[in-house]
Symmetry: C2
Subunit: 306 residues, 2 copies
C-alpha cells in the first residue's frame, strides 16, 4: 500500500498509539510518524523501542507540520491536549482521536480547534487489558471495527482519507452518529466493564471467602471478569465520567433485569430462568458467525503452568 | 499410571462425563467404563464416538458391579437419579458426583443411598461453554482444581482413592466443607454467570440498539459475557435454584457496590472510581501468578475470520 499521510503525529503513546504505529509501519501508510507522551519515562521507553520515527518533548513540536494528528490520551484530558496543540496545527491538517466516548470528546476538543483543520472523531473497537507503550502490536485492529463520527460540516475527502488509513491498518470502518455511538458502546463495553469491576471488588471484599480462595478457584467464570477488571483505571474512570448518561441508563436496565432474575431464583421460577438463559445463546451464535469471536472452547486459551 | 477403579460408571454423558472418560483412558485409570444417558440420541452419539466401553439403556445396568459411580447430570435431577440406581449399587462401591452445588446435592442424594456404599461428593472446577457428549476432551481438568466434599463419616481410604483418580485425571485436589464450597462458588462462578446472562439479555432487549449492532460491535468486553451466557440453560437453572441462598447473598452485595459506583458516576466522584478500579487489578495478578489463567492479551485468543 502507498503512503496516505506524509506526516502523522501520535499524542499519547500507550496501547492504542503504539498499535497504530506498528500497523502503519507494517503497510507503509505514513511517511513519518512523530510522537509525544506526557511523562519522561514513556517518551524514553518509546525512543528505546523505536516507537515513532521521532519522539518530541512537547506536543507542540510533535504536531508541527503533521497532516494527521491522532489524540491517543484518556478522554478526560482530550480537551486540554487540544488546547495545547491548537496554535501549532498545520492549516488543512486532520485531527482525529481514538477515545472510547464521542459526544464528550467532540464537545471538549471541537471548540479549541481552528477553522482551518478538519476534526474527525474516531474510535477503534479493539483493545486488550494491557496498557502503555510496550503493549502495542500491529495486529490489534485486524478485522476489528473502527467507528468514525464525522461532525457537522466534516469534509468528505478528509473523512475518506482517514477511512483509508484505518482500512490500511486492518480495520473495517463504519460511520456513526455521536450519541448513538455512546449508547451502543455503553451496552457493548462500558456497562460490562463496570459490572466486571464491581464483581471483582465484591469478591475482594468478602470476609468469609479469602482472596486466596477467590484466586485459586477463579477458573469457573470469575477469571474472565478479572481480565476485564484489570484494565487501566484512569482510562475507565474517564470513560464512565464522560459517558455518564448512557452508562447509567444501561445500568438501570441491567439492575431491573437482575432483580427480576433474583426474584425468579427466590421464588423458584425455573421456567423464567430457563427461558432467559436460552434467549441469550442466540447472541453468542451471532457474534461467532460475524467473525467477532472464536468458537474454540474457553476462547481457546492456553493453560499456563503455575 | 495403574488402574485405580476396575469398573467406573458414568451417569449422564455430557461435557464433564466425556472429559472424565477421555482423561481416564489417557492414563489407564479405569479397567472398564460404562455409561448411561437419558436420551436415545445421546446414548447413540456416545456409542458412535466410542465414549464409554459400554453404553447401557438403563442406569441400573450401567451401575451394576461398578466400583465407582459418577453422577454427571444437572444438579436438579441428582436425587432422582440416586433413587433410580440405589437398589443396583454394588456393596462397598463409591458414589460421587460432579455437580456445581454441594449442600443441595448432599441433601437430595444422600438419603437414597444404602449404608454399604461410600458417598463422596465432588466438584471439578473446570468447564467450557459447550455441552453434550461430543464437547469433552482429555485435557479439560489439567491443572484445574477438583474439590472433594466428604460428608460426615466418609471413609478415609475411599476419599483417598477418589483423590488419586482426580489427580490421575490431571487435577489438583482439595477438600472443602459443603456450605463453604457453595459460598466460594457463588462468588467465583454462580453470581458471575447470572450477571453475564443478565447483561446479554439487556443488550438483546434494547430497542434503540439493534441485535445486529450488539453483535457487530461486541468486541469490547461484552463478547466475554456472551461466552459465559452461552452455557447450558438447564445446568444453570438448576445451579441457581439449588444454591439459592449463597447466590442471593452475593448478588445482594454486588448490587450494593454497583449502586455505590453508579452514584460515583452520577456525582462525578472520579477518585472513588479510580481507587476501586486500582484495587481490582491485584486479584488479576494473583490469578495469573497462581497459574489459573494466561497473561496473554485478550486470553491470547485467535481472530476468526467472518
Ligand atoms: N485500551 C483500550 O482497550 C482502548 C480501546 C479503544 C480506545 N481506547 C481509547 O484510547 C485512548 C488511549 O488508551 P490506551 O489504552 O492507549 O491508554 P494507555 O496505554 O494508558 O496510554 C495513554 C497515553 O496517554 C498519555 N497521557 C495521559 N495523560 C496525558 C496528558 N495529560 N497529556 C499527554 N499525554 C497524556 C499517557 O502518557 P504517560 O504514559 O506519560 O502517562 C500514555 O502515553 C483512550 O482515550 C481510550 O479511551 C482504548
Ligand atoms: N459445564 C460445566 O462447566 C461444569 C463444570 C463443573 C461441573 N458441572 C456439573 O456437571 C454436571 C453435568 O454438566 P455437563 O456440563 O456435563 O452437562 P451436559 O453436557 O449438559 O450433560 C448432561 C448430561 O446429563 C444427562 N441427563 C440430564 N437429565 C438426566 C436425567 N434426568 N437422567 C439421566 N441423565 C440425565 C443428559 O442426558 P441427555 O443428553 O440425554 O439429555 C446429559 O448426558 C452438572 O451437575 C453441572 O453442574 C458442569
Amino acid at each position: 500500500m502507498s503512503v496516505i499521510y506524509d506526516r502523522v503525529a501520535l499524542i499519547g503513546l500507550g496501547l492504542i498509539a503504539s498499535s497504530m504505529f506498528w500497523a502503519m509501519k507494517r503497510k507503509g501508510l505514513a511517511g513519518e510518524v512523530t510522537g509525544y507522551a506526557r511523562s519522561d519515562a514513556t517518551r524514553e521507553t518509546a525512543r528505546r523501542i523505536g516507537l515513532c520515527d521521532h519522539v518530541y518533548d512537547s506536543a507542540a513540536e510533535a504536531v508541527a507540520g503533521a497532516d494527521l494528528v491522532v489524540l491517543c490520551v484518556p478522554v478526560g484530558v482530550m480537551g486540554q491536549v487540544a488546547a495545547d496543540i491548537a496554535p501549532h496545527l498545520k492549516p488543512g491538517a486532520t485531527v482525529t482521536d481514538v477515545g472510547s466516548v464521542k459526544r464528550d470528546v467532540i464537545d471538549s476538543v471541537g471548540p479549541h480547534l481552528p477553522e482551518n483543520v478538519h476534526f474527525i472523531p474516531g474510535h477503534p473497537l479493539a483493545g486488550t487489558e494491557h496498557s502503555g507503550p510496550e503493549s502495542g502490536f500491529a495486529e490489534l485492529f485486524d478485522q476489528r471495527w473502527c467507528l468514525l463520527v464525522p461532525v457537522e460540516g466534516s469534509d468528505r475527502a478528509a473523512v475518506d482519507r482517514l477511512r483509508q488509513l484505518w482500512e490500511g491498518i486492518g480495520s473495517n470502518v463504519q460511520e456513526m452518529e455521536a450519541d448513538h455511538h455512546d449508547l451502543v458502546l455503553a451496552v457493548t463495553s462500558h456497562a460490562p466493564h463496570l459490572i466486571a469491576y464491581t464483581m471483582v471488588g465484591v469478591a475482594d471484599d468478602l470476609s468469609r471467602v479469602t482472596d486466596r480462595e477467590v484466586i485459586t478457584y477463579s477458573a469457573a467464570g470469575f477469571r474472565d471478569f478479572t481480565r476485564i477488571a484489570a484494565s487501566d483505571p484512569t482510562m475507565w474512570r474517564d470513560v464512565f465520567l464522560s459517558n455518564k448518561d448512557a452508562t447509567l441508563e444501561i445500568l438501570g436496565r441491567f439492575t431491573e433485569e437482575l432483580f427480576a432474575l433474583q426474584r425468579a431464583i427466590r421464588t423458584g421460577d425455573g421456567d423464567h430462568l430457563h427461558d432467559y438463559f436460552t434467549r441469550t445463546r442466540a447472541i453468542r451464535r451471532g457474534i461467532i458467525e460475524a467473525g467477532q469471536d472464536t468458537d474454540a472452547p474457553d476462547f481457546g486459551r492456553k493453560k499456563s503452568g503455575p
